[in-house]
Amino acid sequence: MTAPAETPPITARVEEKFPGAVTASHQQFGDETITVAKDQYLAVMTLLRNDPTLKFNLMVDLSAVDFLGQSPRFQVVVHLKSLSLGHRLRVKVGVGEDGPEACTLPTISKLWVAADWYERECFDMYGIRFQGHPNLKRLLLYESFVGHPLRKDYDIHLQQPRVELRPVRERYDYQNRNLTDPSETERRPL
C-alpha cells in the first residue's frame, strides 16, 4: 500500500476543497480510494455529488468493515460512480465505538436516495446508526433480532432465541366491531 507518487485528480480535487479532510488515500489495483475524516464526511460527499468536475451521480454501494481491535473499529465504505464522467471512487470513513458519538455517522440518503436501504442494511448488520436517516430500522433481519451479525465478535454459530408465537385473535367479530374504540379502527402507519 505505497502511496502513489502522483496524487490522482479526484483526491486532489477533494483535498483542494477540504484541506485535511482526506486522511489517507491509495490506488490499489486501480481502485481510487480516499479515507475521509468523520466530521468532514457529509461535506465531502456533498462535494463529490455536486462538484462539476466530479459529478458522482450513482451511489453504487455502501457497506462497512469491522476491524475488531483497531481504532476506529468500523470503516464505512461507499462506492461511487459517475455515469457522465465514467470514473469511480471508494470513500472510506472510520466510525469508532467510543465516546458520545459511538457508532454513528451522518446519513447520505438525502444526497442519494439509493443510500436509504444500504444504510438500513448497514445498521442491521453492523449497528452503525445513521443520523438523520428517515426510517432507520432493520431491513433484512427481524425487529427482535439481538445483536448485529456481521460484527466480528458475533459468533457464526450463535443461535437467536425463537420468535415467540403471537396470539391470533380467534373469530374476530367483524359484524359487531366497535368503531369508536381506537384499537379497532387504528391503522398501522405505513
Partner: protein, 365 residues
C-alpha cells in the same frame, strides 16, 4: 307398454326425462370432462404432456382418471369455513354460481321437434330474456362468496365480478337486440328455426353470424366476460388477487365453483351456437332431408333429429375448445381496461350495430 307410452306423454314426466338427459347426461358430463380437457389442451399448447399420473394399477387412460381423482379428493377434503366468515352465506354461495349456468339449459333446443316431441326442456316464448335473467343471477354466487369469506382478496374479487358482469350485460343485451330485430322473435326455438332459411335461393343459411357478424363478436366477448374467462378473468386473476372470490373455499365447495365455471363455459358456447351458428341446424338439412341446388336426399325424422343433435353438440364442443384455447393465448386485461373496453368501445359499437341493422331492415323491408 301402452301405459309406459301414456306416462311418457305427461309433460312433467317428459320434462324430468329431458332434464336428466340434457343436464346430467350432457352438460354436467361435458363440464366435468372439460376440467381435465382444459389441462390437457393447455399442455398441448404449451408443449407439455399434461396430467397423466392418476392411475389404477397400470391403467392411467392418458390422464382420464384425473377426473375421478379430482372428484374423490375434493369430496374427501375438509370443508373449511374461515374465521369471521358469514357462515350461512359462505356455505350456500357456491350453489348460486352453479344454478344459473344450469338453468340456461331450460330453453336451449338440442334438436328439431319430431311431431309433438320437442328436444328442449321448455319452450317459453320469452326465451332470450330468460337467458339474460338467469345469467345475470350468476353474479350472486361470486359476490356472496367473496363477501362472506371475510378476506380482502375475496372481497376485491367479488367487487370486480359484480361490476364487470353488470357492465358487460348492458352491451350484451344491446348486441342481441339486432338478433331480435332480424328474426323478429325472442323465442329461442323460433330463432333457431328461422336460421334455417336461406339467401340466394337456398345457398347461404341465414345464421346469426351472417346476419349479425358484428353482434357476434360483441356477444362472444361479452359472454367471455360473463363466464369470467381470459382475457376477462380479473375477478379471479391469480397473479393479482390470487383466486378472487373463491379464494377461501376448499373441498367440495371449491370444486362446485370450478365446475360452475366449466358448466358456464358449456352454457356460453351453447348460447352462442344457438343464436349465431344455427343452433342444431345443419345447412341445407330440412325436417325431411337435405335440399341443395335442386338436389335432395330424403331422411327419416329420427335420423334428422340425431344429425341435428350431433351438429349442436359438435358446435358447442368446438366453442368450448375455442374458449379454452383463447385463454391460453391471451394475457388478461387490467380491471379498469375491462371497464374501458366495455363502456367506451363495446357499448358504442353495439349501438352502432343496432342503428345499422335497423336501417338495413328498413331499407330491405
Amino acid at each position: 307398454m301402452d301405459m309406459i307410452l301414456d306416462i311418457l306423454t305427461i309433460p312433467l314426466v317428459q320434462a324430468v326425462i329431458k332434464i336428466l338427459v340434457f343436464v346430467l347426461g350432457f352438460v354436467m358430463a361435458v363440464g366435468t370432462v372439460l376440467t381435465l380437457m382444459e389441462r390437457k389442451w393447455m399442455s398441448a399448447v404449451q408443449d407439455r404432456i399434461g396430467p397423466n399420473r392418476a392411475n389404477i394399477g397400470k391403467f392411467t387412460g392418458h390422464g382420464a382418471l384425473h377426473i375421478a381423482a379430482d372428484g374423490v379428493k375434493s369430496l374427501l377434503k375438509e370443508d373449511t369455513v374461515p374465521a369471521g366468515a358469514d357462515r350461512f352465506l359462505y356455505l350456500i354461495a357456491p350453489l348460486f354460481s352453479y344454478f344459473p349456468a344450469i338453468l340456461v339449459w331450460a330453453v336451449i333446443p338440442f334438436a328439431g321437434p319430431i311431431g309433438s316431441v320437442t328436444f328442449q326442456i321448455t319452450d317459453i316464448n320469452t326465451g332470450l330474456v330468460f337467458i339474460f335473467a338467469v345469467t345475470s343471477l350468476g353474479v350472486y354466487g361470486a359476490v356472496l362468496g367473496g363477501y362472506a369469506s371475510n378476506n380482502k382478496y375475496a372481497l376485491l374479487g367479488a367487487i370486480r365480478t359484480s361490476s364487470q358482469m353488470l357492465s358487460y350485460e348492458v352491451f350484451l343485451g344491446l348486441s342481441l337486440i339486432g338478433i331480435f330485430m332480424v328474426y323478429g322473435t325472442v323465442q329461442v326455438s323460433k330463432i333457431v328455426e328461422l336460421q334455417n332459411t336461406y339467401w340466394f335461393d337456398g345457398l347461404i343459411p341465414k345464421w346469426g353470424i351472417f346476419t349479425q357478424p358484428l353482434a357476434f363478436f360483441l356477444f362472444f366477448t361479452g359472454m367471455l366476460a360473463e363466464a369470467k374467462r381470459q382475457p376477462f378473468d380479473q375477478p379471479e386473476g391469480e397473479s393479482e388477487i390470487i383466486a378472487g372470490y373463491y379464494l377461501e373455499y376448499s373441498g367440495a365447495r371449491f370444486s362446485a365453483y370450478m365446475l360452475a365455471e366449466y358448466v358456464s363455459i358449456v352454457a356460453v358456447s351453447a348460447i352462442t351456437v344457438t343464436l349465431f351458428f344455427g343452433g342444431y341446424q345443419i345447412p341445407w338439412l330440412f325436417p325431411d332431408g337435405f335440399h341443395l341446388l335442386g338436389y335432395s336426399l330424403a331422411l327419416p325424422p329420427v335420423v334428422v333429429a340425431l344429425l341435428q343433435a350431433g351438429s349442436f353438440i359438435t358446435k358447442t364442443l368446438i366453442f368450448c375448445w375455442l374458449i379454452i384455447i383463447i385463454r391460453w393465448t391471451l394475457p388478461r386485461f387490467r380491471f379498469d381496461q375491462t371497464m374501458d373496453l366495455g363502456w367506451k368501445k363495446m357499448l358504442p359499437l353495439s349501438m352502432a350495430n343496432l342503428v345499422v341493422t335497423a336501417l338495413v331492415l328498413l331499407l330491405t323491408a
